[in-house]
């Protein structure tokens, strides 16, 4: 199916919704970057800049009851699943109003009330967990679908192999979404494995594997839609490989330039998910004014999130031992 055909099948209203979400993820991360660089946020952050179309394209197919398991690079997944930006930012700030009350931070934020089952500091760990959540949906005869995001770095871990195999043999309602951004920290995927097609690995588990342009929110949406429908219809899991790229360093503090060429980064920026989504709207006949209004709405949303998080209280020191059990 050509991209043009896909775009025509999608209403302008939906396109606008995707665009605004992609932009929200982008502006959110740029705000986090600024706050972090100004020493306002504790801990460590891994930003999702450049990869927004993956989270939005996938999660735009999900309902609140569906579950998402995420990674160390998970702010975008949380937002795309519907966790309010203020709640995510407050968590990054260690505030009592954050999704984990400040106990978690960037790599350990949980919002089950939005079907968001957590970012994760341990690479690979979410894959078995998501598989188990899908098993639970199946035995409860619930129509829930589970989506698991992970990077190219995770697919060489035992967790991936063992869990994906189980998901397949048990025909579970789970969609495995690999965000292949070509690097795990400084480790190029081609240095880490001889088989650099993640989608092709699905065959090893007797399951469907699909590759998609991860910079195009519409293309991701289409592929994810089919996979999620299949999962919901008891058709078993799918492995989706989204080809994507992070514009920034591995984490804030890593310039991300020692192991990648400037040309490579520039090349990928030509396929910018925000620009692509915007171009689709322009192509569909939306006028520039309407787009600017949308931009302002998203900017306002981010400003509100900052105000909420900044003004929120710290947790009380005395509460440190609460919630251990």
């Amino acid at each position: 199916m050509s991209e043009r055909v896909l775009a025509e099948q999608i209403s302008q209203e939906l396109l606008l919704a995707y665009y605004k979400k992609v932009l929200e993820l982008r502006l959110f991360e740029l705000k986090v970057q600024e706050l972090y660089r100004n020493g306002r946020l504790p801990g460590f952050v891994h930003l999702y800049v450049g990869e927004e179309a993956v989270a939005v394209g996938v999660c735009s197919n999900l309902q609140t009851a569906d579950l998402v398991f995420s990674t160390h690079r998970g702010h975008g997944h949380a937002l795309a699943k519907g966790v309010p930006a203020g709640v995510v930012l407050a968590e990054l700030w260690g505030k009592a109003t954050g999704s984990s009350g400040g106990r978690g931070g960037s790599m350990h934020m949980y919002a089950p009330e939005y079907g968001f089952m957590g970012t994760n500091g341990i690479v690979g760990a979410p894959i078995p967990l998501a598989t188990g959540a899908a098993l639970s949906a199946k035995v409860r005869k619930h129509s829930q679908v589970v989506v698991c995001f992970f990077g190219d770095g995770a697919v060489n871990s035992g967790s991936f192999h063992e869990a994906v195999n189980l998901g397949s043999v048990w025909d579970l309602p789970v969609v495995y979404v690999c965000e292949n951004n070509l690097y795990a920290t400084e480790m190029a995927f081609v240095r880490a494995t001889k088989n650099t097609s993640v989608a092709s690995r699905a065959a090893a588990y007797g399951m469907l594997g699909v590759e998609v342009d991860g910079q195009d929110v519409v293309a991701v949406h289409e592929v994810a839609q089919a996979a999620i429908q299949r999962a919901r219809g008891d058709g078993g899991p799918t492995l989706i490989e989204c080809k994507t790229y992070r514009y920034v360093g591995h984490h804030e503090g890593d310039p991300g330039t020692d192991y990648r060429t400037r040309e490579e980064v520039q090349q990928w920026k030509k396929q910018d998910p925000v620009k692509l989504a915007r171009q689709r709207l322009l192509d569909s006949g939306m006028d520039e004014n309407k787009l600017q209004t949308a931009d302002q709405q998203v900017e306002q949303l981010i400003d509100d999130a900052v105000e909420f998080a900044e003004k929120s209280p710290e947790p009380s020191a005395a509460s440190v031992t609460e919630h251990v059990f």
Partner: protein, 334 residues
């Protein structure tokens, strides 16, 4: 033992130990993530790849279970290896290989097979990394027969203990502390070894014995300085290796002072700190003037919030306050 040397960082002291040993013993192979051209997440292998190349410094993808097992297997077959888990937290991915294979192999084979492998990882809280990157579970290793456990607290100790580990029949868990990598001390340029089971008296004193490990050694020393101004003379001891343990130096000190306080970043329950209290009771019962005390992290996963994490981990203030409580105690012997 020479006190001559340069002031270098903890990270560089580890690099120096490796460079010297890898030159001396060309069978050593080092495996881990980001330890090649990148020079280590904590700069703990900086510059080594240039000298030793891909053959001896083997970068892997994210596959701790496979890589650790491979390092142990290579060691069993006669190649001395280091497996760098980078964050000690990630050793959990490979725990079955460490505990079931490496630790058991000498005994199970009636001593015929050794596993000269150093399992390297950095533990502890640093800059609010959160629960998944802050564990201090070295106690678990100490509870595993067949594993030696070294906890260097200074650059000097890191170099000397690492070199000893690289000559040990193994396996050795060499557990650094993340927040120590940039700390500095005088480190001799020449070859020296620190034998396992040789505690360091960090500071001499007569009123109480404080035992601390890893990053807590620095806190204990600072607390001792404050206490000295208040007229309390604390002896601070760093065991340096907890398996094997220098029981003699520690119990001699407790007998001398009659009081024991242990500072530990791990939670107290079922811990090495608890072991030291047991030793005090077993070996020094008659000389104890006060109930031995553990000052440990609160038993919670490391919280992200700085407010909460500061509450969790022992601080100089807390040590000083609790030591005063211990000093007030007078034991009535009937």
């Amino acid at each position: 033992m020479s006190e001559q040397g340069r002031v270098i960082t903890y990270a560089d002291a580890g690099v120096e130990a490796l460079r010297e040993e890898m030159r001396r013993d060309d069978s050593i192979v080092y495996i881990g993530q980001g330890i090649g051209p990148r020079g280590g997440n904590f700069r703990q292998t900086r510059g080594l790849w240039k000298e030793f190349g891909d053959e001896r410094l083997r970068d892997t993808g994210i596959c701790e279970l496979g890589a650790t097992g491979a390092a142990i297997g290579a060691a069993m077959a006669g190649t001395r290896t280091v497996i760098d888990e980078v964050f000690l937290d990630f050793a959990l991915e490979a725990i079955t290989q460490i505990v079931q294979q490496a630790a058991n192999i000498s005994y199970m084979s009636n001593g015929k097979i050794k596993a000269p492998v150093v399992i390297r990882g950095a533990m502890g809280a640093v800059r609010n990394a959160g629960a998944h990157h802050s564990h201090t579970f070295y106690n678990w290793f100490a509870n595993t027969p067949g594993l030696k456990v070294a906890l260097p607290a200074t650059p000097y100790d890191l170099k000397g203990l690492f070199k000893t580990a690289l000559r040990d029949p193994g396996p050795v868990a060499l557990i650094e502390h993340k927040s120590l990598y940039n700390t500095k001390s005088v480190v001799p340029e020449e070859d020296y070894l620190i034998p396992f089971g040789d505690a360091r008296i960090v500071r001499e004193g007569k009123d109480l014995t404080i035992v601390a490990m890893s990053r807590m050694v620095d806190l204990a020393a600072k607390a001792a300085t404050v206490l000295a101004q208040e007229g309390i003379s604390a002896e601070v001891i760093d065991p340096r290796t907890i398996v094997p343990l220098d029981r003699t130096k520690i119990t001699n000190s407790i007998r001398k002072t009659g009081r024991l306080v242990v500072i530990d970043e791990s939670p107290s329950y079922c811990s090495f700190a608890g072991e030291l209290l047991a030793i005090a009771v077993e070996d020094c019962f008659d000389e104890l003037q006060a109930t031995p005390r553990r000052i440990c992290s609160l038993p919670v996963p490391n919280p992200f919030s700085p407010v909460l994490e500061n509450q969790m981990i022992p601080s100089v203030d807390r040590i000083v306050r609790e030591v005063h409580e211990v000093m007030k105690q007078v034991r009535r012997v009937s």
